[in-house]
Amino acid sequence: MSRQANRGTESKKMSSELFTLTYGALVTQLCKDYENDEDVNKQLDKILFSNFLPRGFNIGVRLIEDFLARSNVGRCHDFRETADVIAKVAFKMYLGITPSITNWSPAGDEFSLILENNPLVDFVELPDNHSSLIYSNLLCGVLRGALEMVQMAVEAKFVQDTLKGDGVTEIRMRFIRRIEDNLPAGEE
């Protein structure tokens, strides 16, 4: 194999792990930041939960623009279409995986994304004192932020997590309401 070909593969390999490693370093750092304080340590998982959602939200807000610019996907007409686009286009584009969509509620306003493997948790183990940490919670924030920018208020949460010993990772998505835009503040 020529040296050039080797180089390409190395770059790709490094590139694919950069996000995972950076995310891991961030979580580790945030755990460390709070570890000195006994009381805070008990709250740590809750703090990380509440901190990560808005950070993830901000990422989602920017991500949707990137997504719409690159994916040529048109407006989704209902939540089912949205689910398809999220799983088959967005997850594939950004994380290289295609979760499956299951467990639709009868009203069609809730579904589950099942991730056989979660790239965020490659090489990750939760230490005992953080066994309840929702490690990948950033993802929920990203999903909410992105969808809010296309006028959908949703809730996203982890209901199964391979990091906690479950067989798969499952994110439950729930449609709350359509966000009407262009309303001046204070008017309904």
């Binding site: 080797n6 390999k13 792990e17 950069l18 490693l21 950076t22 950070r55 584009m93 994380l95």
Partner: protein
């Protein structure tokens, strides 16, 4: 495999998150009378070094995943070239724009359109904010060098966005 834009967005949020702890440096820093200014500066320095050490961990981990053959560099300059080409392409999808050295352990790596600064501004606006966005990357370089067997000190400077220079100092043993 994560898309590269995810790293850029995450980096922005990371800087914001770590900076958010600034005015109140948090547990582990002793309380006591300190002027708001002094407290802020100490906090900022801590945040910069926190970002740098996170970058260091990631740089080390990236380096560790390289196959052994890659690591057989003949000279120090080859290592720096590797950082400027392969590492930079992997992380920022572009090569470093220039590499200069005095052949005595000092290297200046210049990126004329550093992707983490590009979205911010061009010119002198936000110059004060620039260091926060460089700390992680300095650590990344230092970490990669460390895995490749080289101890270094890496700093960065910006004269005008988005051009920035990374200075790598490798002390002679």
């Amino acid at each position: 495999m994560a898309d590269t834009v995810l790293f850029e967005f995450l980096h922005t949020e990371m800087v914001a998150e770590l900076w958010a702890h600034d005015p109140d440096p948090g547990p582990g820093v002793s309380a006591g009378s300190r002027g708001e200014e002094v407290g802020a500066t100490t906090g900022q320095k801590m945040s910069l070094s926190v970002l740098e050490s996170m970058g260091f961990r990631v740089g080390q981990a990236l380096g560790e995943r390289l196959p052994r053959e890659t690591l057989a560099f003949r000279e120090e300059l080859d290592v720096l070239k590797f950082l400027c080409k392969d590492l930079w392409v992997a992380v920022f999808q572009k090569q470093m724009d220039s590499l200069r050295t005095n052949h005595q352990g000092t290297y200046v790596l210049q990126d004329n359109s550093f992707p983490l600064l590009l979205p911010m501004a061009s010119g002198l606006q936000y110059l004060e904010e620039a260091p926060k966005f460089l700390a992680f990357t300095c650590g990344l370089l230092r970490g990669a060098l460390c895995t490749l067997g080289i101890e270094s000190v890496v700093t960065a400077s910006v004269a005008a966005l988005p051009v920035c220079k990374f200075q790598v100092l490798i002390p002679k043993s």
